[in-house]
Amino acid sequence: MKLPELQARQVWAIVLIGYLIPAFIPLGMSPVISSATQNIYDTIQSLPPGSIVMCGGGGVFAFDLESSAGLIAALKQMSKLNVKVVFYPMWIETMQFSKYCVDSARVDEKFGGPWKYGRDYVILPYIPGNEVGLVSFLNDVKKTVSTDYAGTPISQLPIMDGLNSYKDIDVWICAQWDGVTILRYVTGEYGIKVLWFAQSSAYSAFGSYMQVYPGKIYITNGALGGAQYEKLNAMKGLGHAALDSNVVFTLLFIGFLVLGNITMLYGEKNGNKKVKT
């Protein structure tokens, strides 16, 4: 008997069933802490009270969801340390992403958290021009932004009194896809430490920047790093849900890999694709 080639739709049906299982019955996986994640935790933990932490970069909300796991946990951690956080939205969805993270972390006083807008954190308006805006901001904050997201002049926001240029920034946290722009300018040109809650694809593509500026850049690896960060802060969020789905994925991956190769050896002769460079 010849093994038939599975149609794409048949594969997808199996995948859908696979992913529905952990949605109904959580597997409750727990991560083991990697040193890369621990480094970021320690860096934030050692910030003196009153430090100014910038938080921002460019990214698409849905894609950045993977990094939100780490960022939400970090916001929670920072709210206990009395550091000031300024959100810097670089792409047009980043402001919504920042709000989502602040709301999910429940750090604002309206959710019973310790933070008060304007005193402990500020959200700047969308700043166009990517790297151009970033360079301008680092050189001279007051020239680049004149209001916050709601149109309030920054002179009325207490945090912004102490933030005039790159010299006043202690750490820059990025939880977005376009962390490379942040690394190139914030660390590369101005020597500020960057903590990047990167997506797994960003880690494997841009990890090399850690070697260019050793000790200045720390990157976590995707959802796994997010889950580890959640564990360090004793919470369970999207990172932990991602671990469950990763178990399903591993099984599906191995299953289809084996099936595909068996089909190649004993199946009908078609559908063979090859990769050439």
């Binding site: 083991v32 919504q96 700043i127 151009v132 890999l257």
Partner: protein
């Protein structure tokens, strides 16, 4: 040739060249040389640039309006959807301007529509990924063999089952990412960096005309 044409040609060919040379030089020189004048010029140009870019946010609206209204008036395929989209755009703009970008209402509406749809589309990638992988990852040649072995290693090592049962898995996966993986990744970053550098040089020298030609029609 009319005066208008010659003016437009002069702007397209001469003025733009000069503007590019000045702006590009100011950005590069402002960084490499500590001159307050250059730096000030550069900062001012950066601010101009940021303000100009803001207007490009409206370009999509104008293009969609012309394209979709044409589709609706000519009753092309799917035209009722285009009409619906035009109405929704108008409703959304009114809603957004009324409630503000950071209000809870705007955020809920945004999360329930745009973000939901985006996540749903991205969520389908794993389906495409697995079906493509089923077809492609067949070890026939050395090339696919290498791809399959390293992909499999990463998937297995990142899996929470492996990580919680085998303490070395975490270190091995980081070793793979940080040594052989980073070697290739760094070469791509470096070579693309050189490519980008040369492109800027070509634009500076006026050898790369396509960008402006395409814009200037």
């Amino acid at each position: 040739m009319s005066t208008m044409d010659s003016v437009s040609r002069f702007i397209r060919t001469r003025i733009t060249r000069i503007v590019i040379v000045i702006t590009l030089l100011s950005a590069v020189a402002g960084y490499f040389f500590s001159s307050p004048e250059l730096n000030a010029l550069n900062t001012e140009l950066n601010l101009w640039n940021m303000n100009i870019i803001t207007f490009t946010l409206f370009i999509g609206l104008i293009t969609i309006y012309f394209s979709y209204s044409k589709s609706v008036s000519q009753r092309t395929t799917n035209w009722p959807f285009r009409l619906y989209a035009l109405v929704l755009i108008a409703v959304w703009i009114v809603m957004g301007l009324y409630s503000g970008l950071y209000s809870d209402m705007y955020q809920t509406a945004f999360l329930s529509t745009k973000i939901t749809l985006h996540i749903a589309i991205l969520g389908q990638l794993i389906f495409f990924y697995l079906s493509a992988m089923y077809r492609t990852f067949r070890v026939k040649t050395l090339r696919t063999g290498i791809l399959v072995i390293f992909a499999l290693a990463m998937v297995v090592l990142n899996s929470p089952i492996t990580l919680s049962n085998w303490s070395a898995a975490d270190q091995i996966s980081y070793w793979l990412l940080n040594n052989p993986g980073m070697g290739g990744a760094r070469a791509v970053v470096l070579a693309s960096g050189v490519g980008g550098m040369i492109l800027a040089i070509r634009i500076f020298m006026g050898l790369e005309k396509s960008a402006l030609r395409a814009a200037g029609g």
